[in-house]
Symmetry: none
Subunit: 401 residues, 2 copies
């Protein structure tokens, strides 16, 4: 069962507004068994005040024990089953650099490599060539010309770049050409089904021309392709929820993920304060706002407990500007936990808070990992959060008579 | 979705060790509404100490309200959906007496019965013939000879015995031959599909020869067949989790269940202390240990509250020897509840405790039915316990980028 099978037919339009504040990697861990998590250690008077008015719970990003990447983490929050809707690596890489994939596009993660005179790979990552050296090479590859196909080439970082193929009859089921070892040539692109045959042919022709264009280069004169992926076909927010939705994010990855579900990308904020400026400015135009805050994740990834505490406090400090707008439903959550203890995304449930005038408050006095496990929302899979949001906003009709 | 679809591709190898202590039938009930359960009444200082370091929750063996047998109870704990993976009755009976089923074997539960001169059943259980009388009869049936088929006959208890057929082209979809009444002959074996046709023919021939071999017997001169079943095809622990796993159990049933998922059966322990001796001895050889303790179940089945309390205390007393080994992940759970109040397996969630350095402790001070329902693991289906174990052991990579 897909929850969208219900929301698609039950959603109704009204004037109410939903704000979803996503503090990336929000959940954490104590540094010792009797210690506090980052969120518990942080002074969060505004979130705690919301907790007294709202209802909280423990959101499971995918399934128990599964640590999601940003893709599945956000798809879950957006209400798309993260196991059913997979974003291929090529598509996620293109999304992450802000490339606007269109329906039918095939994106390919590529690595520059070095080849010897016989065409055998000598370094699979071209000595991890510096970004400033590899970017001009990627741009040179824009000269590749293939009839009927529009080819985009975008630098990423070091030896990595992205190729996007746009044209008729392309599909993404093509095997990697990276042989995973040196002393042999890159593999020929091999289609796993008939629909992807043309993609494999185009990829082979791209590679042929690219090697010609790079033939005078010392640092990188070849390439491998890893992670072919078509743009994922996700039904839109408008279709499944009846929502006109805005995404206010700083980083391209989160704008891209929001774009995949049909949100409009609003503005060019560089700070959380600027994001809230945009929220205020566009308040009348949308009924759903996704606001992404990165630094609770990046500090966790760095393993910096104190910095994560500080960034959590920065996040808390912005809350009054959001509540001043009187959203009908305000959600505070994360796409996964990023405990600084683990320096990585983790499987731990994410403290999630929902405030509305009909949320059935659970009487909690603080917002934290410890409180959320006995909160009124219980322990729930993240993919159900959107139906709760719609219900609290009065945007879901009755199921059955 | 099968959680193994995720674990199969995400598991990684490392040096960490997981111990799963299964106290069979652990969960209980109070004798009156304001009373304590067996686990709450027991003095369990060691489990309570673990609770302060760990995280607990309420494990639902199958689905709410469903009381599992030992087969589905353990499959759930092992992470195999107990509704998807069924162990047929014949296969479970063979497993329970320690018979090592091979892929392609068909096992059949059989009952001795008595037949009159016309071949009609006069007693479907042969007067519940004593085990010491029926065992020689079962052994006599080993004289049955069927070309191309290896036939195993194993006594069980009273009128019950097991037949295992080994050979090419056998499947387990054959109807019971027990007509469920007297005054009529046993039914002919009837295959429910083409693949099981040969099994039905072999079963008919076995029955014909058996009746000849028993023709001079007064106590039991016939048999019925109930519960044909092929060995269940379960993917192995190595395949789905990347784990080399050891099972340390006293009773054949639990060794057999562990063998079905590819665990190695270690030693011949007769007591819990001897089981822990084996755990210590084989500590370096495996990364997962399943240790089965029977007496919390058997005392519950007996309806003996005080004995179950005492056996729970015995179980608690062994904990320090396990923690002394410093397992990276220690799990204490049961395959189902066996409240002495009900004298049977029950549907009640099982208190389940997980301890690791990254488990996110929930601040509980005791391990019990009452505490687990508000624990940090929430209420969860047992089949997700293994993915939690792997995650806490650092043995699961990230899902998606």
């Amino acid at each position: 069962m897909d929850i969208h099978d219900l929301t698609r037919s039950l959603h109704v339009k009204n004037e109410s507004k939903i704000v979803m504040l996503v503090a990336d990697g929000l959940g954490g861990l104590p540094q010792s068994a009797d210690g506090q998590t980052e969120l518990e250690a942080a002074k969060t008077p505004n979130l705690d005040a919301l907790a007294t008015q709202g209802i909280q719970g423990a959101s499971i990003p995918v399934k128990l024990g599964i640590s999601p990447g940003s893709g599945p983490g956000h798809l879950g929050l957006f209400g798309y089953d993260p196991i059913q809707y997979l974003i291929g690596r090529g598509a996620l890489e293109a999304t992450g650099i802000g490339f606007e994939l269109q329906q039918g596009d095939v994106a390919i993660r590529c690595n520059f490599c070095t080849l010897d005179e016989n065409g055998n790979i000598t370094d699979r990552r071209a000595g991890r060539i510096a970004s400033e050296d590899s970017a001009p090479l990627a741009i040179r590859l824009r000269e590749v010309s293939i009839p009927g196909i529009k080819v985009f080439v975008e630098p990423v970082k070091e030896h990595r770049f992205v190729v996007v193929l746009r044209g008729e009859g392309l599909a993404g089921e093509v095997d990697d050409t990276d042989p995973q070892k040196t002393g042999v040539p890159p593999l020929a692109p091999h289609a796993r089904n008939d629909a992807s045959q043309r993609t494999a042919e185009v990829a082979a022709e791209f590679t042929r021309q690219a090697v010609e264009l790079l033939s005078d280069q010392k640092q990188a004169n070849g390439l491998t392709m890893r992670g072919f992926a078509a743009r994922p076909q996700l039904p839109s927010y408008e279709e499944v929820y009846g929502l006109t939705a805005a995404a206010i994010a700083v980083y391209p990855m989160y704008k891209g993920l929001a774009r995949l579900v049909g949100m409009n990308i609003v503005g060019q904020a560089q700070t959380l304060a600027e994001q809230i400026d945009l929220l205020e400015k566009h308040w009348e135009e949308y009924d759903f706002f996704f606001i992404h805050y990165k630094y609770t994740d990046s500090t966790g990834e760095d393993g910096n407990f104190d910095a994560k505490v500080a960034r959590t406090e920065d996040f808390d400090a912005i809350i009054p500007r959001v509540t001043a707008l009187n959203p009908d439903v305000l959600i505070v959550t994360g796409d996964h936990s990023t405990p600084s203890f683990l320096k990585s995304h983790s499987w731990h449930p994410v403290p999630t808070l929902l405030v509305s005038d009909c949320c059935r408050p659970d009487g909690k006095q603080a917002f934290s990992e410890r409180e959320c496990i006995t909160g009124g929302l219980g322990h729930f899979e993240a993919k159900y959060l959107m139906s709760l949001a719609l219900a609290n906003a009065g945007k879901l009709g009755k199921f059955g008579a």
